[in-house]
C-alpha cells in the first residue's frame, strides 16, 4: 500500500495522522494519567491531606485481592461459556439467516437492561420461580435457588455470557464465512466424522481467528460495572463496584484508593490488549 497516496505536496500530511490518534487516544491517556497523579496525591480530592503512599496501601489488603480474584474468575467462566455457545451456534446455524439474527440480537439490549431482566427472570421471586410454583416444584420464593446476589454468581455469569456471546458469534461466523466449507467437505469425503472434522480442521483454524476477540471479551468483562452492580454479591465485592464505591466515598483517603484500583484495572486491561495485538499479528499471516 502506498504510504503517501494522495497526500503528496501537503506538509501537514505527516503530522495529521499522529495528531488524529492523539485526539482519539489522548483523553483516555489523560484520564489514566490523572488517576495516576491523583493516586499519589498530586492532584485530586486527597491532594492536601493524604500521604502519597497511603492510597497504594489498598493493594495490600486481602479485600482488594479477593475482589480482584473473584472478578477474574467469574469473568473467565462467563467468557468460556460465551465462547462455547458462540462456536456451537455459529457452526450449527451458520446456514440459517434467522439463526444468525437471533445469535446477534442480545447486542441490542444494554447491559443494565440485561441485568435487570436477569433479576426479573432468575431472581427468587422472578418469572422462572413463579413458573416453578405453577408447575408445582416450589411454593415460596425461598424454595427457588438463590442465583443472584451471592458469590456463586450464577445469574451474573449467565447474564455476562448472554451479552457477550453474540459478539463472539459474529466473529465465529466471519471466520467461517471467509473460509467457506471446502475444507470440511474435503475432510468428510476423506472419511472424517463430523466430530473428527471439527476437532482437527474446524476448531484449530477457528481459534486462530477468534482468539483476539476472546481476549477482548475477557478484558471487557473484567472492567464492566453494570452487571456486577445489579447482580453481584456484597462479599466479595466485584472489582469495578469496589472501585466506584471508593471513588464516591466521603473519606478522601478512600478516594485516593479508588484511583489506585482504577490503575490496577487499567494495567490488567493493557496487558490483555498486548496479548490481543500479539494474537492478531500472529493470525494475520498464513491463509
Amino acid at each position: 500500500m502506498n504510504a503517501r497516496g494522495g497526500t503528496a505536496g501537503w506538509p501537514l500530511a505527516r503530522v495529521l495522522p499522529l495528531v488524529s490518534v492523539a485526539l482519539v487516544a489522548a483523553p483516555a491517556l489523560v484520564g489514566g494519567a490523572y488517576s495516576l497523579a491523583a493516586s499519589v496525591g498530586v492532584v485530586g480530592a486527597g491532594a492536601a491531606d493524604a500521604a502519597w503512599s497511603d492510597g497504594w496501601r489498598v493493594l495490600l489488603t486481602p479485600e482488594t485481592w479477593r475482589s480482584l480474584a473473584w472478578t477474574a474468575i467469574t469473568s473467565a467462566i462467563a467468557t468460556l461459556i460465551a465462547l462455547a455457545t458462540a462456536v456451537f451456534i455459529g457452526v450449527r446455524l451458520r446456514s440459517s439467516p434467522m439463526g444468525r439474527w437471533l445469535a446477534v440480537a442480545p447486542i441490542a439490549v444494554p447491559h443494565v437492561a440485561a441485568a435487570l431482566a436477569a433479576i426479573l427472570l432468575l431472581g427468587q421471586s422472578g418469572l422462572v420461580s413463579r413458573l416453578a410454583v405453577g408447575v408445582g416444584l416450589t411454593s415460596v420464593p425461598a424454595d427457588f435457588p438463590a442465583l443472584a446476589y451471592n458469590a456463586s454468581a450464577v445469574a451474573l455469569i449467565a447474564t455476562m455470557a448472554w451479552k457477550e456471546f453474540p459478539f463472539l458469534a459474529l466473529t465465529v461466523l466471519a471466520v467461517l464465512d471467509t473460509r467457506g466449507s471446502a475444507l470440511e467437505e474435503s475432510a468428510q469425503t476423506l472419511g472424517a466424522t463430523r466430530i473428527q472434522a471439527f476437532r482437527r480442521i474446524t476448531w484449530p483454524l477457528l481459534w486462530r481467528g477468534v482468539a483476539p476477540a476472546v481476549i477482548a471479551v475477557y478484558a471487557f468483562l473484567l472492567g464492566t460495572y453494570e452487571m456486577p452492580a445489579l447482580l453481584g454479591p456484597s462479599d466479595p465485592v466485584p472489582f469495578p463496584v469496589l472501585t466506584l464505591e471508593r471513588s464516591t466515598d466521603p473519606d478522601l483517603q478512600r478516594r485516593g484508593e479508588a484511583h489506585v484500583l482504577a490503575l490496577t484495572a487499567l494495567a490488567a486491561t493493557l496487558a490483555l490488549v498486548a496479548v490481543h495485538q500479539r494474537l492478531r499479528a500472529a493470525s494475520g499471516d498464513g491463509d
Partner: protein, 259 residues
C-alpha cells in the same frame, strides 16, 4: 435444517427472547404479587404521575441529547483520525489502531475515575458537559475503529481521479469523500450514539448522580425497590438500540457483512 439444528434454534430462541419477555411482563403493572405470572395494577396511571413518569421522560430526553451529541462529535473526531490514518504506513497504522483501541478497552470505571478528577479541575463535574466529554472518549474510539475498517475497503482511486480532474482538497471532501461515505457516516453516528446510550458507570462517576440519564434512573428505580418503573426504563432503553442495530446490520450486509 436437520433435527438437531432445529432444537438448537428453538433453545436459542427461548434463551434470547426470555429476558425481553421478562421485561415486558414486569412493565405491565406496578404490583407483582408472588406467584402471579402477570403483574396487576394501573400502569398507565404511573406514567402520567409527575414523579414516576416525569422522571422517566426527562431521563430519556437527557439520554437522547447526550447520544446525539456524542454520535456526531465522536464521528467528526474519528473521521479526521481514520481518514488520515488509513493511508499511513503499516507501522503507524498499528500504533493508531492500538491508540483507538485504548479508549474502547479501558474499563469505564477506570476511565471515569481519572476523567472525574479532570472534570473537577475544569469545573464541569456533575454537569452535562462533563458527562458528554466523558462519553466522547469511548465513542470516538469505537467509531475510529469502525471507520478504519471502512477506509480499508475504500476506493482511493476515486479521489485521485477527482484531483487529476482539477478538484481541490476541499472539493474532494465535499464532492467525493463525504457523498461516497454518506451511508457509512450515518452508521458511524449511530454507533457513537449507541455507545453513549448504554453508558452507566461513566455517567455515574463523572456526573456524580446529578446527570440523570435513562440507565441512571433505571438503577435508581431498582435500588428504591420500584421494579416496575425499572422495567419500563429498561424497555425504553432497549428500543433505540434494537432499531439502531438493525440499521447497522443492514449496512454491514450491503458491504458483505456477516448477518
Amino acid at each position: 435444517m436437520d433435527r438437531t439444528s432445529r432444537v438448537v434454534f428453538a433453545v436459542l430462541l427461548i434463551v434470547v427472547a426470555a429476558p425481553a419477555l421478562a421485561l415486558v411482563i414486569r412493565a405491565l403493572g406496578p404490583v407483582w404479587f408472588f406467584p402471579n405470572i402477570v403483574p396487576s395494577g394501573n400502569a398507565v396511571q404511573r406514567f402520567t404521575e409527575d414523579f414516576g413518569g416525569g422522571r422517566l421522560w426527562r431521563a430519556a430526553g437527557t439520554s437522547v441529547a447526550l447520544a446525539t451529541l456524542t454520535g456526531a462529535g465522536g464521528t467528526v473526531l474519528a473521521l479526521i483520525a481514520a481518514r488520515s490514518l488509513a493511508r499511513a504506513r503499516r507501522g503507524l497504522r498499528h500504533v493508531a489502531e492500538a491508540g483507538a483501541l485504548l479508549p474502547v478497552v479501558m474499563p469505564p470505571i477506570a476511565l471515569g475515575v481519572g476523567v472525574h478528577v479532570l472534570a473537577l479541575q475544569l469545573h464541569v463535574s456533575g454537569s452535562l458537559v462533563g458527562v458528554l466529554g466523558a462519553h466522547l472518549i469511548p465513542a470516538a474510539g469505537y467509531v475510529t475503529l469502525y471507520l478504519l475498517g471502512v477506509f480499508s475497503a475504500y476506493e482511493w482511486a476515486l479521489e485521485d481521479e477527482a484531483r487529476t480532474l482539477g478538484a481541490g482538497r476541499v472539493q474532494v471532501w465535499t464532492r467525493v469523500t463525504l457523498p461516497l461515505l454518506r451511508a457509512r457516516l450515518a452508521e458511524a453516528v449511530l454507533l457513537g450514539a449507541l455507545v453513549s446510550w448504554g453508558q452507566l458507570a461513566l455517567t455515574l462517576v463523572v456526573g456524580g448522580g446529578a446527570v440523570r440519564t435513562l440507565p441512571v434512573e433505571l438503577l435508581a428505580f431498582l435500588r428504591s425497590g420500584d421494579d416496575h418503573l425499572a422495567a419500563v426504563a429498561a424497555l425504553l432503553l432497549s428500543i433505540p438500540p434494537a432499531a439502531g442495530v438493525a440499521v447497522l446490520a443492514r449496512g454491514m450486509r450491503s458491504t458483505g457483512g456477516v448477518v
